[in-house]
Amino acid sequence: MIIPKLAFRNMLGAGAKTWLNAVVLSMAFVAIIWSQGLYIGIDAEVSRAMIEAECGGGQYWVEGYDPFDPFTIQDAHRPLTGPLRTLVEKGQATPFLIVQGTIYPGGRIVPVLLKGIDPGQKLLSIPSSVLKTADNELPALIGARMSATSGLKKGDTVTVRWRDAKGTFDAKDLQIVEVMRTTVQSIDSGQIWLPLQTLQEMAGMPSEATIVVTEKNYGPAVPIPGWTFKNLDYLLDDIKSVIQAKTIGSSILYSILLFLAMLAIFNTQLLSIWRRRKEIGTMMALGFSRGKVIRLFTLEGALNGVLAALVGAVYGIPLLAYTATHGLGLPADQIDSFGIAISEKLYPTYSGALVIGTTILVFSITTIVSFMPTRKIAKLKPTDALRGKLT
C-alpha cells in the first residue's frame, strides 16, 4: 500500500508539470470520445434515415440491375409475380419502377431518373401520398436538391421525355406537386417521383417493377427467380465505408494529441528518474527492491492517466452531454459535401463501451510509456545511485 501512497504524493508534488501532462492527456481523452461518438452517431443517424426512406428491410432487385451502372437501367424491369406479388398485396413490400428520362427546365436538357412509387405505400418515409391528387394529370414529387439544381418549384410544370419499353420516345408535361426535404440524397438528386401505375402505363411496362422494397425487419429472404435480394448489410455497406474512412481521418487529430501527451509523460519520467537518483538509492538502501522502485515510478506516470480522466471529466462531461442533447449544427451548404445522408444537426452517441474502451486504451498507453524509462533502474547499483550516478 506504501507504493500507491508514495506514487500519489510524488505525482502531486511534481506540481505544474503533472497538471500540464494531465491537461494535454485529458484533451486527447475527450477528443477520442467526442470524435468516435460523433461518427457512431452519424452512422446510426444515416442508417436510420436510409432504412426509413429507401432501404426498408432490404430490397429485391431485378437481376442485372445495378444503380451505379446506368447502362443496366434500360432493361431493368420485370412483372411482379408469385411470392413477390403476394408480399406487395399483403403490404409487406412496395415496388418501384425506374425509367430514364429527360426534363427541359428553362430550355435546358437535364437527364433524370423517373421513379414510380405507389402513392398509398406506408413502408417508406417518402411523402408519396401527395401523388394521389386527382387535379393533375401527371403529378410529380421531387427533393430539395433536385429542386435547387433544376430550378423547379412546387406548382411548376415541366416537359418530361422518356422512351417506352419499345424504345419509342414519348413526352408529357408534369407538375411538381411537392418538394420534399430529405437527408437521403439517393432518393433526391436527379430523380422525379411519379405515381407507379402512371409510370408503368407511360413506359409500357404494366405491373412491372425494377426494385421491391420490403418492410423493416423483413426476413429471412425468400429466393425469387429473376430477382436478387439485397440485405441491409449490402445496401448500407457504402455508407459504412464512408463513415469508416472519415473516422480514420479524424483519428489523426487525436493521435497527435495522444502522442504529445505521451511524449510529455515519457520526458517527465526520464527527468524524474535523473533528478531523483539519490532518492532511488536511499529507497534501495532502506530495503526497496528494484522491482518495487520500478513499480513506484511506473505508477506515478500511470496516475497521470487517472488525473487526465478526472480533468477530462470536469469539462468533457458537460461538453459531451451538451453536444449529445443539442447536436452539432452544420452549415446548410455543407451538408451534401459529406456524401452521406446527414441532417443539419449531428447528434453524437457516447456508449459505455466507447468510454470504457477509451479509458483502457489511454491507461494502457500511459502505463507503457511510464514504464519504459524506468528500465534504467533495473541496472542501477544502490551505491552508484546514492552517489548520484546513473549508469
Binding site: I73, Q100, I109, K166, G167, T168, A171
Partner: protein
C-alpha cells in the same frame, strides 16, 4: 364528225393527263425513293455545325467517313477546344475519343440521351439510321411548297417496331425526292424535333441537303445548323478507319 372525234379525244387525253398529274404516287413509293436517295455506299463529308446557344453561337467543323448505314467515323477539326475529338459508330454502338483525356468512351445507356457537343442532336439521333419505309406506315396527307419546291406531305406512323419517334411528318420534294422539312412526334403526339432544310445541291447526280437546321423543340433556342462544305460519293475509304484503333491515331 371527224373533227368532233378528234376534239373529244384531245379533251379525254387532257383530262387523263390532268388526273394523272393530280394523283399522287403511293406513299410507299415516295418513301422508297426518298430512302434510295438518302442512302449511298461510301461518302466523305466535310461539314460545319453551328450550335446556337442562349448567349452565343459556336461553330464546329468536322470530317466524316461514312460507309452505308452502319459505319461512320467523324473527326472534329476546329475550334481548337474540340480539335482531335473523334467519334466512331459501328451499328448500334458508339464511341468517342477525347485527346485531352486520352480516353475512349463507349456511349450507351443514359449517355445516348445527352446532346452531341451541346447541339440539338443527341447521340441516339445519330444512331437512327434505318430506312423509313421499313419502320413506318406512310400516307400522303397533302401537297405544300417548301423552298419554292412542290412537295408531298407524308404522315408516317410507326409499324409497331422499336422506333425512336412514333410518328413523323415529312415534306418530300416531288421531283428530287429529298426531304425538305421534317417534324418528329412523341407517342403522345407532342412535337419533339424538327428538321428544316435551307438549301439543296446536286453532287455526282444526287440531290443532297446542303444546309439544314435540326431543332429540339422541347429545348427551345434556334437549333443547330449543319452545313455541308464538301461531299464525295463512292469515295475510297480504307477499312481501318472504322476500327477503335483509329480513334487514337
Amino acid at each position: 364528225m371527224k373533227k368532233t372525234c378528234v376534239c373529244a379525244m384531245l379533251a379525254m387525253a387532257f383530262l387523263v393527263s390532268r388526273t394523272m398529274a393530280q394523283t399522287p404516287p403511293s406513299a410507299e413509293s415516295i418513301l422508297a425513293r426518298t430512302d434510295q436517295n438518302a442512302v449511298s455506299g461510301n461518302k466523305i463529308i466535310l461539314s460545319a455545325m453551328t450550335i446556337h446557344g442562349r448567349r452565343d453561337s459556336r461553330s464546329i467543323s468536322s470530317k466524316s467517313w461514312i460507309q452505308g448505314k452502319d459505319k461512320a467515323f467523324t473527326e472534329y477539326l476546329a475550334p481548337a477546344r474540340e480539335k482531335g475529338i473523334k467519334m466512331l459508330k459501328l451499328g448500334d454502338q458508339l464511341w468517342t475519343y477525347s485527346p485531352d483525356a486520352d480516353r475512349t468512351i463507349s456511349i450507351s445507356g443514359h449517355m445516348l440521351r445527352q446532346s452531341v457537343m451541346g447541339s440539338d442532336l443527341s447521340y441516339e439521333d445519330m444512331l437512327e439510321d434505318r430506312e423509313l419505309q421499313t419502320i413506318y406506315n406512310a400516307r400522303v396527307v397533302g401537297e405544300e411548297t417548301v423552298l419554292e419546291r412542290p412537295c408531298w406531305v407524308l404522315e408516317l406512323t410507326s409499324k409497331g417496331e422499336e422506333v425512336a419517334y412514333y410518328s413523323r411528318k415529312v415534306w418530300v420534294d416531288k421531283e428530287r425526292f429529298v426531304v425538305l422539312k421534317e417534324e418528329m412526334y412523341a407517342k403522345s403526339n407532342k412535337l419533339l424535333k424538327t428538321l428544316e432544310v435551307k438549301s439543296v445541291i446536286r453532287v455526282q447526280g444526287r440531290w443532297v441537303q446542303n444546309v439544314l437546321v435540326f431543332k429540339d423543340v422541347l429545348k427551345g433556342g434556334e437549333g443547330t445548323e449543319f452545313k455541308i462544305t464538301a461531299i464525295e460519293f463512292e469515295a475510297a475509304i480504307p477499312e481501318y478507319i472504322f476500327s477503335k484503333a483509329s480513334l487514337r491515331k
